[in-house]
Every structure is written in structure tokens, then in C-alpha cells.
Amino acid sequence: MNVLRAAWLVALKDLQLELRTKEILTSTGLFAVLVVTLGSLAFYTDPVSSPNVAPGVLWISILFCGILLIGRSWALERENDAVFGLLMSPIPRASIYVGKTVSALALLFTIELLLVPLCMVFFQIEPRGILFPLLALVFLGSIGFVSTATLFSAVGIRTRARDLMLSVLVFPLVAPALLASAVATRELFAGATTTEILGWMRILTAFDLLFVAFGVWVSRYLLSET
């Protein structure tokens, strides 16, 4: 079976589980909304200062929500040792990684579709002309982060210190992509046009390609030993 077909089956299984329980979307979505709400209340902002504060709040919210979401998604695999059912299948190891990344991205994108407009409302940012570039930025920033966090979560199947490992290894690794995302968002909020942030988008795309390619390559080794 080819990688994409098997990855699709893995992702579909995750989404099917989530559609049934809505456990991940509810818990992580609520958490993300709470962070944005608290941020907008804690930092007393006006239309002049809010474009400087909003990007940080938005990305912190996405980051923590993403980590929670991916952790929960892999916890489902550890329950009953279900992941070994996948590992016993004659599918390329990379397809498990790709499938889990795709499902986590789909769930995170769903939350971001709610989070981005909410952030703009709370921080009084005029959406005209920046909503779609902002969504594109958020999606690009999420791909690199989710693909890296998924990879380390996969390693963590058999590691007791999996949460520590996620924080210690993932955050420094994805820091360049997150910084680029936050800076580009700040510029967009400050009135930059889509053309002006195109350079940041290219950097993010390059990070995404690098992270995903590395994940696909290394996952076959990381998922082969128990």
C-alpha cells in the first residue's frame, strides 16, 4: 500500500474518532478561546497598541492549543496499545506519521478558523484586507509546528518523559518558524500589505517543507523499534 493511501486511512480514523467524541476539539478549542479572552482582558489595549499585543496572544494560544491537541491525539494511540495495531499493518512507517500530522492539522485548522476572527474582534483589528493573508499565515505557521510536534509525539509513544520531551525539544526546534509567524502577523496587523509579508510566507513555506520532509524521512526509523 502506498504512503498516501495508508496515511489517508490513519487520518480518517482519527477524524472519525473525533467526530464521535468531539473530545479534542472541545477541550483544546475552549482552552484556545480562553487564552485569547484572557489576553484581551489582561492587556489593556486600544486600537493603537492592540496590533502589537494581538500577534503574541494569538500565537501563544495556537501553540498551547496545538501541543494539547497533539498530545491528546497520541494518547488515543497509547490507550490499549492501539498504535501497535497500526504498526502491525504492512504499511510504510511514514504513513502513520503523515496520517497523524494531517488529522492534527485538520483539527487545529478548525480551531484556528474560530480563533482568528475572535482575536480580531477582541483586539479591535479591522479584518478588511488582512483576514485571508492572516489565515494563510496561521496555516503556514501551523504546518511546521504540527509536523515537528507530531514527530516527537511519535517517539514519545514509549517514553515516560514524553511531555517534557515535547516542551524541551519541540519548542526550540520550531522557534524560528514561530518567530517568523509572529513577526509577519504583527506586520500585517500594523498595516503591511500581502505583498510586503510575502517574504515571511516564503520563509514559512521553506520551514514547512523542511520539517515535513525530515519527519517523513526519520519516522520510518523512529517508528520501527519498540
Binding site: 500500500m1 480514523k13 474518532l17 492501539a82 495495531g85 502491525m88 499493518s89 520501527s224 519498540t226
Partner: protein
């Protein structure tokens, strides 16, 4: 690629987890149409041997051959191996049917739904078929786990304490099922503590101690 083999051989097979020696050099051959039962105390290395045969772990030393194929063909060989592990390896949020259909699709079975349906019926899981696994008793879930291992008619069938949670009637029909697999030409390896079950299914019974086969003497 569909690989096939008539024999599985392990040579000087060893596995360590850090300083803990789980398997200390095992030499064995398993042939098609035979049921080998492995018994032994907790920690004697039985389950480790099964995990190595299932290609879920790499040996620290020694080698495993599946006919003329080695572990370099692991991805393809997995399509010929069925494993009933001590943990159920099923998704608790999915129903028995969904778990089996997913496994069948991952095995590349084109008639996944029909195959899952047929096995579910054969193992008598029909009445709770569409309920989530988390609502099953251990015995009910164990039957689904066994069905999952048989989906793709594996050449090598590995079972770790497969009778756990099964009632007397289910255990009897399970013994019949193992006999069918044997007649089909499967290489069956069963790890169990239950002497009665071991005697009922085993063509040969091996005893393990501290990572070695001690009975019959090598």
C-alpha cells in the same frame, strides 16, 4: 508484494532492554501447520520472543528468517503475520466493526467490509458489533482482537495469552479455530500460562526460563 514462507527460524536470538536481559540466545524453528505453545514464568522472555517474531522490536543479537526472507522485508512480511497481543490493540472509541474494517483496509484487503463481517460472525461478536469497544467486556474485546489477527489469513499467527477473558464455551470454539488455522497451513505460536489450554492446542510445548528454552532441552 505478497511474500510467503513455510518456516520461521530464529538463531541465537537475544534481546536486552538496557541492563535487563529479556532473551538470552534462543534457537528455534516453527513450521507450517504446527502449533507451538510456549510456557514459562512472568519475565521469562515469552512475550519478548513474540514481539521480535511480530517485527515490533529489533533483536539485540541473532537473526530471524521467514523462509528465505529476513527483516529487511519487514513491511511486506507484516502482511503475513497476525498478532493477538496481551493488550487488545483496538481503538476503544471505535466499534468492533470499525476496528476490523480499518485493520482490513490497512492490510490492503479489497473486500474489507465483507471480510470483517464474516469474521465477526464466525467469532460471534454480532450482537455487540456496532457498539464502541470501550463498552465490551474483556472476553468480547478479546474476540475482536482475535478476529483482527485472522483477517488477512496470516501465515504466522502469534498469540499472547489469547484465552484471557474467554468463557469456557468461547475457549472451546477458539481451540477449534486454532485447529482450523493449523489445517490451513498457518504457523501458530501461542504463549499461555493455562496448562489445559496448552495441552488442547499444542503440537509441541516449550518451557522458557530466564530468556532461554529449557524444555525440551536444546
Amino acid at each position: 508484494m505478497k511474500l510467503d514462507f513455510e518456516e520461521v527460524g530464529v538463531t541465537d536470538l537475544g534481546k536486552s532492554y538496557g541492563p535487563t536481559l529479556a532473551l538470552a540466545g534462543v534457537d528455534l524453528r516453527f513450521t507450517a501447520g504446527t502449533v507451538t505453545v510456549i510456557r514459562g514464568a512472568n519475565g521469562s522472555g515469552k512475550s519478548t520472543l513474540l514481539w521480535l517474531l511480530a517485527l515490533l522490536a529489533h533483536p539485540t543479537k541473532g537473526a530471524i528468517r521467514y523462509g528465505r526472507y529476513g527483516v529487511a522485508h519487514a513491511d511486506d512480511l507484516r502482511g503475513r503475520i497476525g498478532f493477538v497481543a496481551h493488550q487488545l490493540q483496538l481503538y476503544p472509541g471505535l466499534s468492533g466493526r470499525e476496528n476490523l474494517v480499518l485493520a482490513a483496509k490497512l492490510q490492503g484487503i479489497s473486500y474489507a467490509n465483507e471480510r470483517a463481517e464474516a469474521l465477526g460472525e464466525a467469532l460471534g461478536v454480532g450482537e455487540y458489533w456496532d457498539r464502541p469497544i470501550r463498552t465490551y467486556s474483556r472476553g468480547q474485546a478479546q474476540r475482536v482482537s482475535i478476529a483482527r489477527a485472522l483477517l488477512h489469513e496470516p501465515r504466522l499467527l502469534l498469540m499472547d495469552e489469547p484465552a484471557t477473558g474467554l468463557d469456557v464455551k468461547s475457549t472451546d470454539s477458539f481451540v477449534g479455530l486454532i485447529e482450523q488455522e493449523k489445517q490451513r497451513g498457518a504457523i501458530v505460536v501461542v504463549v499461555t500460562h493455562e496448562a489445559k489450554f496448552a495441552n488442547a492446542v499444542g503440537d509441541r510445548i516449550l518451557q522458557m526460563e530466564r530468556g532461554r528454552i529449557v524444555e525440551p532441552a536444546p
